[in-house]
């Protein structure tokens, strides 16, 4: 197949589109950043892409709650096109604010008549927090996560605490392998935001739609790692594999 095409969806307040486009290109894809206004005008443009990426940022200022306003626009204008995209087994990735958007569209979680199955809400410490965290990948069936066990990545968010509506829903999603990425528990690092079951990222039951709070696109060069001056020069950056996996899936 030709090089996979990646749509990087921009909106007012998106701010990680350049590095997200860059890493997909480094991994062998062709990236195009497109504004949500353009997508709403012509939802059919989605058909010419294999990967849809919701990059990080503060879509619409994160007003109301993070990701909510962009999700509302998407739900009420291009939901059919998004569902068609998922149904055709293409890949969808939400990073940080993109994950928050995906959560609120309902594309990641089971549906209930009276509200969502889970949410991302304010960190336990009540504030925006930027720090590096160790992650464990628990779902190796997701095309994004093949061959990935652990990743060291930065988080940078205020509303990243993952909360389920109830324990049954949490059990159900866990059994379905949806709790794809967890903050690794070790003696030194407590969960950085108070997420239930240490959830850092989830996927839909097919594994083709993945959302995560940490930023894999911020660990794609040797000098991104906070300890790079202490580490061997030939160490591969942890974040690259996820993007390479996504491109490789189409090859």
């Amino acid at each position: 197949m030709a090089q996979p095409r990646v749509l990087i969806l921009r909106s007012p307040g998106t701010n990680c589109e350049i590095e997200s486009a860059y890493v997909f290109e480094q991994s062998g894809g062709i990236s195009e950043a497109i504004h949500v206004n353009q997508l709403m005008e012509k939802p059919e443009i989605l058909r010419s892409f294999q990967i849809l990426c919701f990059p990080g940022g503060f879509s619409f200022g994160d007003d109301i709650s993070a990701g909510q306003i962009l999700a509302s626009w998407l739900k009420h204008s291009v939901m059919d096109a998004l569902q068609e995209f998922v149904a055709s087994r293409k890949l969808m990735l939400g990073i940080c604010n993109g994950f928050q958007v995906l959560m609120r569209t309902g594309l990641l979680t089971p549906n209930f008549a009276d509200g969502a199955a889970a949410t991302l809400t304010w960190n336990t410490n009540g504030r925006y927090t930027a720090k590096w965290v160790e992650l464990e990948a628990t779902n190796h069936n997701s095309p994004f996560l093949r061959g990935i066990d652990r990743m060291y990545l930065p988080i940078a968010h205020a509303e990243g605490r993952f909360v389920f509506r109830d324990d049954q829903t949490a059990d159900r999603m866990e059994q379905a392998g949806q709790l794809a990425l967890r903050y690794a528990s070790n003696a030194l690092h407590e969960s950085p935001n108070g997420s239930q079951r240490e959830v850092a990222g989830i996927c839909d039951p097919t594994g083709h739609v993945l959302g995560l709070m940490p930023h894999p696109e911020r660990n794609i060069q040797r000098t991104h790692h906070p300890h790079w001056t202490r580490l061997p020069a030939d160490r591969r950056p942890d974040g690259l594999k996820l993007f390479e996996n996504a491109i490789a899936y189409f090859k």
Partner: protein
């Protein structure tokens, strides 16, 4: 049937078992102010939504848009109805807080837009915070109501239900031209006009204007007088520093026709002339930011601004719009640079200051600090610009005048660095709409604050909307690359009046004020012209590009409007609905201001090194070290840094916190502006007001040296560093105060030339004093210390050669680069143990420092330096401790090995804590040691210790142990003071 206009209240509160963040914040604020609270608080958030909607529509908005039902519940009813969710219990006091009319409420704008996504039409929206308080003692309730729940410079507090049934703002405006009677006014009347109109013009300036209008034989209109006042304000024209100064010190007299031109600008010109073909400055001291060469195709820009006065009154909004403003400077440099990183430097009083000791009209320093940090955080993070470097200085003299410096670095293509509006270009405004915000910000920022300022100057305080600015930046940079405009500048202080006035200076301009898009009706033509509403830029768009430009903006929902034309008249013509409201000659506006003439005097203070060393010799060195590490000035700033996104844009190379546990204090930040290139920049700063208490010359020299040294320590080329000055001073009409400023400016000139390090941009903020009436009824004034911030931008040839300050490997050797002398004046050792500023401050031997930095840079490029850390506050002992705990390794230092240089014999306190300039501690692997040492001239470096696998920091004088304690305990001392939860 159409339903009639209704005002619905949608109230949200946390579900049981989930945190009530609003209430928790209130209780935390009480604790911050030193109250031990026994009261209870609960809170809710409401959205007031107006529109032709029925209750089921409002419920749909709640369910589908506003309420996150996993963690929240909602109730909907007509505004302030009994049946809204949280009924008030008898014992509860009920308060509601909302923005004052006309203050930007970014969230309500977003909500209004989002309601459209549901296919519903709302006409207006406002947000409300609701609080129910019980069981608080009366004094606490008083504090809560007046100081904590709201800030009355931007918000209103309502006790009980809201007193309105509809949201309405603004009223129709009826045009009426108004003149100011100036021609026949006597001097006293002229001064009164200046005061009454908040023009901040002096008598001589008023007389000059009067003479000008007598020649024209007419009275000025209000808009003309306002325009002149804005243009001539200290904030916009820097009339003191660009003015005539007669200076006197122990060396004699100096006369300046233009202080800045003859010191700082002159230094840069000298350096550029010396560099000749190798000159790497591109545009200095003329655009919104300084511009220097990055590589063949790209330039970098740097500007640092202050936003002190607004931050004193409304810390969140002040800092928020301060950063927003300096980012617009970047966007308005050349044809627009892309912001790539931010810096933030703050000066506060001690956050542990007792609440009851605060003078009237002063916000508690802890509240200021939290508000300022939140303000910078929310703007920088939302814009997607990493905040990578900063500093915080604590001193009680900043109690009434906190300092907030915000810096912005940008990247611009080489071919887009120059701009020139053309006659016939449309004057176009894009971005935010114009409201009554920030009126008189430029003139307000040039006057002294008093305890009445918070009452008088409400209009000068604003809240920013970062997303509006991000949207603006997104389209503007696309339009730049398409070549759709000829010039751009930001709308900052003075609003359109300054922006259009500046751009049209060489041509002339005609402005149609009624075309300016407004937030709400009712603004007069003058208000439109001088409003400092945020997030606006002014562009010169040629008519043949207008359609393409407008289409690009609207495709991303950015408003662009033609508001006038650059007409080749040499005049500024202001019209409102075809009425000429003002006509000013550009020549008078920009060249008519009478020069400011000031006297300046400096008398050196006697230094007393003997007392300094005796004071310190009595202290236990280990205790002194712990005190310094645990002092607010030196202590870890992780509480701030961790709230800033320092990695967005994926350009981070050296982070603000480094080391094995990501918590050691980096000397400088390094960012790689272009992901595909290995070339990078280092950003750092230097600042030390305590040296200035003794001699501002040495303060300025030491600050420049520190800023350069910090860049060099991480790997910047010492021959490719540009610096910025920010002078924040007290009342410069006083010769003694201006004298200290001149003294510092002289050092800037000398040291800049000697280092070959050009100043590329600068800014000043004068008259930073706070006056109040104390309990005895007498007037007290607090002046800030002379505060000079030097920011540095250095070129890093290869990112992968950068060095961090954390120790890497046991067995490596520690080498000190640079000489130590008895420099304890203004040192942290004295400040923390004796609260004294005795003794001799560091003096910089620039030729030697320059050579050392060049040699160190060679060593770094050869890969011989495993870690490097600059010696500054707290001297050698602090630097060694920081390197040790950042690396999680022990260290052993023998101070007897330090190269010593002083007429006084070496003492151990001086070796440990002296703050002598131009010193860097380096970690070198044994196999590289000999060649490293050989690089330097003998006597300027020495092996003084080694890295160990042990748990301790050990500092000894040959056999005699001075300090031995675990790096863990030192790290704890360093992290504790500002480890806020």
């Amino acid at each position: 049937m159409r339903s009639t206009e209704q005002l619905w209240e949608i109230e949200l509160q946390p579900l049981p078992g989930h945190p009530d963040r609003l209430a928790e914040n209130v209780l935390q604020s009480l604790t911050d102010l030193g109250f031990s609270s026994s009261g209870r608080a609960r809170a809710a958030k409401s959205y007031l939504v107006a529109g032709s909607m029925e209750k089921k529509d409002a419920e749909r908005i709640a369910r589908e848009l506003l309420c996150d039902q996993v963690v929240q519940q909602f109730a909907v009813d007509k505004v302030s109805s009994e049946s809204v969710l949280q009924s008030t219990a008898v014992e509860e006091a009920f308060y509601q807080v909302l923005y004052k009319p006309g203050v930007m409420d970014p969230e309500s704008q977003s909500v209004l837009g989002a309601i459209q996504s549901l296919g519903l039409a709302a006409t207006d929206c406002r947000t409300v915070r609701k609080y129910w308080l019980s069981e608080f003692p009366p004094d606490q309730l008083q504090w809560l109501a007046t100081k904590i729940l709201s800030n009355d410079s931007i918000e209103q507090l309502v006790i009980g239900p809201l007193p309105f049934q509809k949201l309405s703002l603004g009223q129709t405006y009826t045009f009426g031209l108004s003149h100011v009677e100036l021609l026949s006014a006597l001097d006293e009347k002229l001064l009164q006009i200046s005061r009454d109109w908040q023009l901040s013009l002096t008598l001589v300036e008023m007389q000059t204007i009067q003479t000008h209008y007598r020649e024209l034989n007419r009275e000025p209109t209000d808009i003309e007088l306002e325009t002149i006042a804005q243009t001539w304000s200290e904030h916009c024209s820097h009339k003191t520093l660009a003015g005539r100064v007669h200076y006197q010190d122990e060396n004699g007299e100096l006369k300046f026709n233009n202080l800045l031109k003859e010191t700082i600008f002159a230094a840069t010109q000298t350096i550029r002339a010396d560099l000749g073909d190798r000159d790497w400055c591109v545009s200095v001291f003329k655009d919104n930011a300084g511009v220097v060469r990055f590589d063949e195709n790209w330039n970098v820009t740097f500007k640092v601004e202050t936003h002190n006065r607004p931050s004193a009154l409304e810390p969140y909004g002040g800092a928020n719009t301060g950063l927003g403003g300096v980012i617009r400077d970047t966007l308005g440099t050349g044809l627009g640079a892309k912001p790539i990183c931010n810096t933030d430097v703050f000066c506060f009083a001690d956050p542990n200051t007792a609440t009851e000791s605060l003078p009237p009209g002063v916000l508690h320093p802890r509240r200021i600090m939290k508000g300022v940090v939140n303000g910078v955080r929310d703007y920088g993070n939302r814009m997607g610009i990493p905040t990578v470097n900063g500093a915080v200085i604590f001193d009680q003299r900043y109690l009434g005048n906190p300092m907030v410096f915000c810096g912005s670095v940008g990247l611009i293509p080489n071919g887009k660095t120059n701009k020139q509006p053309q006659a016939g270009d449309w004057i176009v405004t894009i971005g935010g709409r114009t409201g009554r915000d920030g009126i008189h910000g430029a003139t307000f920022s040039s006057v002294e604050l008093t305890d009445q300022s918070e009452k008088l100057s409400g209009g000068a305080v604003q809240i920013g909307n970062a997303i509006t600015e991000k949207m603006l930046a997104d389209v503007m940079l696309q339009a730049r690359d398409l070549g759709l405009y000829n010039a751009v500048t930001d709308c900052g202080a003075g609003g359109f009046s300054s922006a259009v006035g500046e751009m049209g200076e060489g041509i002339g301009a005609e402005v149609w004020l009624e075309r300016v898009p407004l937030k709400y009706a009712g603004l007069s033509y003058t208000e439109i012209w001088i409003s400092e509403a945020q997030e606006r830029m002014v562009l010169a768009v040629p008519p043949h590009h207008w359609d393409a430009f407008e289409k690009l903006c609207s495709s991303e929902s950015v408003e662009a409007t033609i508001i006038g034309v650059f007409a080749p008249t040499g005049e500024l013509t202001l019209k409102y609905q075809d009425h000429v409201t003002g006509r000013l000659s550009m020549e008078f506006l920009h060249g008519g201001r009478p020069p400011v003439v000031r006297n300046a005097k400096f008398t050196p203070r006697s230094t007393d090194p003997q007392t300094a060393r005796e004071t310190l010799a009595q202290q236990n060195p280990e205790q002194t070290l712990k005190k310094i590490l645990g002092s607010l000035n030196v202590a870890s700033k992780h509480w701030i840094i961790r709230q800033y996104d320092h990695e967005v844009q994926a350009n981070s190379v050296v982070k603000p916190l480094v080391g094995v546990a990501n918590d050691g204090p980096s000397d400088a930040a390094v960012v790689r502006p272009r992901l595909e290139s290995d070339r990078a920049i280092a950003v750092a700063c230097g600042m030390n007001p305590w040296y200035g208490d003794i001699d501002p010359y040495h303060m300025a020299a030491a600050s420049i040296d520190e800023a350069i040294r910090n860049c060099v320590a991480v790997g910047a080329d010492p021959d490719q560093i540009g610096i910025l000055d920010n002078f924040c001073w007290g009342y410069t009409d006083r010769p003694e105060t201006l004298g200290t400023l001149v003294r510092a400016a002289l050092a800037c000139r000398d040291v800049s030339i000697a280092f070959g390090t050009p100043f590329i941009s600068g800014k000043d903020s004068l008259n930073n004093e706070f006056s109040y009436i104390d309990r005895e009824g007498s007037r007290q004034t607090i002046s800030i210390p002379s505060t000079l911030l030097i920011s540095a931008l250095g070129m890093v040839p290869q990112a992968e050669q950068c060095v961090t300050m954390d120790l890497k490997q046991a067995g490596n050797q520690i080498v000190i680069v640079g000489l130590t002398g008895e420099h304890l004046g203004g040192s942290h050792a004295l400040l923390e143990t004796a609260a004294a500023r005795l003794g001799k401050p560091p003096a910089v031997n620039v030729p030697r420092a320059r050579q050392l930095y060049r040699q160190l840079h060679q060593a770094i490029r050869r890969g011989w330096v495993r870690s490097a850390h600059d010696l500054s506050e707290g001297g050698l002992a602090v630097a060694a401790a920081e390197m040790s705990f950042a690396g999680g390794l022990g260290v052993e230092i023998d101070v007897a090995q330090l190269p010593w240089e002083d007429v006084l014999p070496a003492t151990n306190v001086a070796r440990l804590f002296s703050e002598s300039s131009s010193r860097i501690l380096c970690e070198i692997e044994p196999q590289n040691l000999a060649q490293f040492i050989d690089l330097f001239r003998s006597g300027t470096t020495a092996v003084c210790g080694q890295v160990t696998a042990g748990p301790d920091v050990i500092i000894r004088d040959s056999e005699n142990i001075l300090v031995q304690c675990s790096w863990q305990s030192l790290k704890h001392a360093w992290q504790s003071p500002l480890d806020w939860k």
